[in-house]
């Protein structure tokens, strides 16, 4: 993949979502976004006015998260949250899907929940977080199709607070499901330029990460050795390696581990490094 630094930065939503975030960190985040010309800063709604003010007249947009991180609030509340955020300057919105309804196969509720947010968002871009770590492939695919039908602009892998981060496997599955015209955002656990390039290679056109600076700075090293971009051991990037019985429902965990049984790379799964 040939990618310039200037192109890479435009993939990045420079993210700060920790609950203890102080204004000084939002200032730092925005200053970095301006310096590196990232696509957006991705923040909690309480900081939207401050960030909008800091980024006015720049190419950096403000993205807020909604119904975050559980996705379990009422649709009306999500819609209200979006409306307020957009009024205060947000131009992109990352909402969390109603995960429980999806697991219940209550697809109408899932879709109406997204439609409520899309409607309230006006012209703002809406990304829908699936929280893939709670889902098996069939559910991820179904969720992608619902998001597309509901008029969302992106599907997004994870909140970063759930049981799994983004994996190239999930990104590729989502890209294949939504087709080329809808956005796919990879988020959660993207810490290095190699992580970032893997996601882009798998089909992501946006990356959510709190390591934007490290990714861009690290990317400069790629020009000095091809070894930095050598393929990893297959298990390193496989969602089945990330599966955790402590964090996931048992049936989801077992679904991931069952994949190992038929995996052609099973013999290489010796060490966990």
């Amino acid at each position: 993949m040939s990618l310039t630094v200037e192109e890479l930065v435009k993939f990045i939503d420079h993210t700060r979502l920790k609950p203890e975030t102080k204004r000084a960190k939002i200032l730092e985040l925005c200053e970095e976004a301006l310096a590196y010309e990232f696509a957006t800063v991705c923040i909690n709604p309480v900081h939207v006015e401050y960030a909008t003010d800091l980024l006015k007249n720049s190419s950096v947009d403000v993205c807020v998260v909604v119904g975050f991180p559980l996705g379990a609030t009422l649709s009306e509340v999500k819609a209200f949250e979006v409306k307020q955020a957009v009024q205060k300057g947000a131009t992109e919105v990352d909402m969390v899907i109603n995960i429980g309804a999806l697991k219940d196969k209550n697809y109408d509720l899932v879709q109406s929940d997204i439609e409520a947010v899309v409607s309230a968002a006006d012209d703002a871009i809406v990304k829908v977080i699936l929280e893939t770590g709670f889902l098996i492939d069939e559910e991820k695919q179904k969720a992608c199709l619902i998001c597309k039908d509901a008029g969302a602009h992106f599907v997004k892998t994870s909140t970063g607070f759930g049981p799994m981060g983004a994996t190239p496997y999930d990104v590729q599955l989502m890209r294949e499901t939504v087709g080329p015209d809808m956005g796919v955002k990879a988020a959660g656990g993207i810490r290095s330029f190699k992580d970032a390039l893997r996601m882009i290679d798998a089909g992501a056109n946006r990356l959510g990460t709190s390591s934007g600076v490290a990714i861009v700075e690290g990317f400069r090293w790629a020009g000095y050795s091809d070894t930095f971009l050598e393929p990893d051991k297959p298990c390193w990037t496989c969602p089945s390696r990330q599966a955790s019985l402590g964090k996931q429902p048992k049936e989801v965990y077992l679904w991931y581990k069952q994949r190992c049984v038929t995996c052609p790379h099973r013999d290489q799964n010796v060490f966990n490094d």
Binding site: A214, G218, Y224, S225, D226
Partner: protein
């Protein structure tokens, strides 16, 4: 790269000091020296290569001892406070640079000197008092035989409390091959026996007080680059979190998890009591405050307190060498032993590793002694004996290679080219293994710190078991380290900086406009010149090797079943370096590097 030379850095001088004749002579830092070798390690290597006669005994008066700073020393560049000490090592017989933090380097620069070039031997114990550009040879008879702290205190009393002292302890005075040079009482130019070279010159200390303002070629540009690089240090989790909070000892638990914490003289890679000697435990039990070298925003240094005594350290390598390497799990004892090594002016890595070697000699029946793995009894006395070259200590003081050979078990010395290997079992990290084997100064983790990419994921995680591509990666980091050591900046900046950041700092501080690739080329030139020195001294490809132990698998832990695959990587390494299959740089390689 322009040939224009910075007026700021080139107005520092080389100070040639004859200890035999007690004369000094100032010389210009020529444009060639600066543009091709920068300063610090590069400058010292060039001086030693050119001016030390081949096959000289390292402890002979004819050997040179160079203290060199670089173009970023005493500037606002982060970590610009280090000094390089370059000589031919009595421990390895190779060219050797040992790098020291603290505050000595900036005083040297402010006194107006790029390097002190020491030659000859004083008739009696002497110390140098350099007060800006005034140089005095003074008798050291009142401190000869004294340990590092009382020596430092005495010398500051005799000169200026604001001066800086680089001195040797009894280890250096007795020409022990494991002797270090100490600054700020607990910062060491530790490795390779550089302290013995100083002791052989009857030079107890250099006390220096520099007051001049240094000039910077483009202060505004430097401000911009410094702000950027300081921000990068703040953004990196290693330089902003791990190192400031735990010091380098943060590595104990991590490396143990990977099964690479050498235990019982590298017989195992996991230490059952690692938690008890970890950085976390150090923080809970003995830590009192952080220590910052000059200009360092990281502050990885520790000040500990044990039974009322304030102690600098211990570092990760020290904890390992005096701990797991010897089967010792008593962190209080390790911290105390670290302090004793500092006071005696001994390299903790080589001391600990050589004691570990002795313990395995005892375990295997080659040596009769009470010093068994895990037993701290009489061990502090043994360390004292090493420094004073007494009894068994005298044998250990020559290093593990000499010791194991003396007892007919050379395979039990965990060394490369005579230098004891540090705290990472090479079986678990193929690139790092190659870095050990090809290091110009012997078994060293700092010539190319492949632990960064292979374990810490800095700048990105690469497969530690792969051999493909590792030769190129080792060369990249060897060249970078050689150039960085010539600025002189701390190795830890590589966690946060990219290659261009070093070039940008250099370009701003001097008028040497330079790209990242050109910066690496300087490093390559320095590396190759070091290789040429070693070849001249009789080293060859057969010395680019690891002890045979690393061809047998580790028995357990996170690196179990692994062996080193050095032989698969070496041919690639030589080829990519432009060397022939015997490890000799080719003519075209030398021409390309202007050597």
């Amino acid at each position: 790269m322009t040939d224009e030379v910075s007026q700021s850095y080139s107005d520092t001088k080389l100070l040639r000091i004859s200890l035999t004749n007690q004369t000094v002579k100032q010389q210009e830092l020529t444009p060639e020296l600066f543009t091709y070798y920068l300063g610090g390690r590069g400058l010292g290597v060039k001086l030693v290569y050119d001016q030390v006669i081949p096959a000289v005994s390292p402890l002979a008066p004819e050997n040179l001892l160079v203290f060199a700073i670089g173009p970023l020393t005493a500037s606002a560049a982060p970590t610009g406070g280090r000094v390089a000490v370059i000589t031919k090592s009595p421990l390895t017989g190779t060219i050797f640079d040992s790098n020291c933090g603290g505050h000595f380097g900036p005083q040297l620069r402010r006194a107006g000197f790029a390097a002190l070039v020491l030659q000859g031997r004083a008739k009696s114990p002497t110390y140098l008092w350099i007060n800006d550009r005034d140089v005095e040879f003074r008798s050291a008879k009142d401190v000869w035989g004294q340990e590092v702290s009382p020596s430092t205190d005495y010398l500051l009393d005799e000169t200026n409390a604001k001066a800086q002292v680089a001195c040797i302890g009894p280890g250096g005075e007795n020409r022990v091959h494991l002797a270090s040079i100490m600054n700020d009482k607990h910062r060491a130019a530790g490795r390779g026996g550089v302290g013995a070279v100083m002791g052989a010159k009857h030079l107890k200390a250099i006390v220096i007080h520099g007051t001049k303002q240094i000039s910077i070629n483009d202060p505004e540009k430097l401000d911009v680059v410094v702000n950027r690089t300081r921000r990068l240090i703040k953004k990196d989790s290693i330089t902003n979190n791990s190192l400031p909070v735990y010091g380098t000892a943060v590595l104990v638990n991590l490396i143990n998890e990977y099964g690479m914490l050498p235990t019982h003289n590298f017989q195992e890679g996991t230490f059952n009591d690692a938690e008890g000697v970890s950085g976390e435990k150090l923080l809970e039990r003995f830590f009192t405050k952080r220590y910052h070298c000059f200009g360092c925003p990281i502050g990885c240094g520790r000040i500990s307190q044990v039974q009322g005594t304030e102690i600098g350290g211990p570092e990760y390598e020290t904890i390992w060498a005096l701990g797991p390497q010897c089967g010792i799990n008593d962190l209080e004892w390790i911290t105390t032993a670290n302090h004793r090594c500092n006071e005696l002016g001994l390299d903790t890595i080589s001391v600990g590793s050589t004691i570990g070697c002795a313990m395995e000699l005892v375990q295997k029946g080659y040596l009769q002694s009470t010093h068994e793995f895990g037993n701290t009894a009489e061990l502090l006395n043994l360390i004292d004996d090493i420094a004073h070259a007494r009894g068994l200590g005298k044998e250990l003081g020559q290093g593990s290679k000499d010791l194991a050979t003396r007892y007919n078990a050379p395979q039990l010395a965990m060394q490369v080219k005579g230098l004891e290997m540090p705290a990472y079992d090479p079986r678990g990290v193929q690139g790092h293994a190659l870095a050990y084997a090809t290091s110009n100064r012997g078994g060293c983790h700092l010539r190319a710190y492949l632990i960064g990419p292979e374990i810490l994921g800095s700048p990105v995680l690469v497969d530690r078991d792969r051999v493909e591509g590792k030769a190129g990666l080792v060369i990249l980091f060897q060249n970078l380290s050689a150039a960085m050591d010539s600025l002189v900046l701390c190795r830890f900046t590589t966690f946060a900086f990219g290659v261009e950041d070093y070039a940008d700092l250099l370009s701003a501080a001097t008028s040497l406009t330079i790209s990242g690739k050109e910066f690496l080329k300087i490093g390559e030139r320095i590396w190759t010149l070091e290789r040429l020195f070693n070849i001249r001294e009789g080293f060859s490809a057969k010395d680019d090797c690891l002890p045979p132990r690393f061809s047998t698998p580790l028995p357990e832990g996170g690196s179990r079943n692994r062996v080193s695959h050095l032989e698969e990587m070496l041919p690639d390494y030589y080829r990519l370096r432009g060397w022939d299959e015997t490890g000799q740089p080719t003519k075209s390689c030398l021409k390309q590097l202007n050597l």
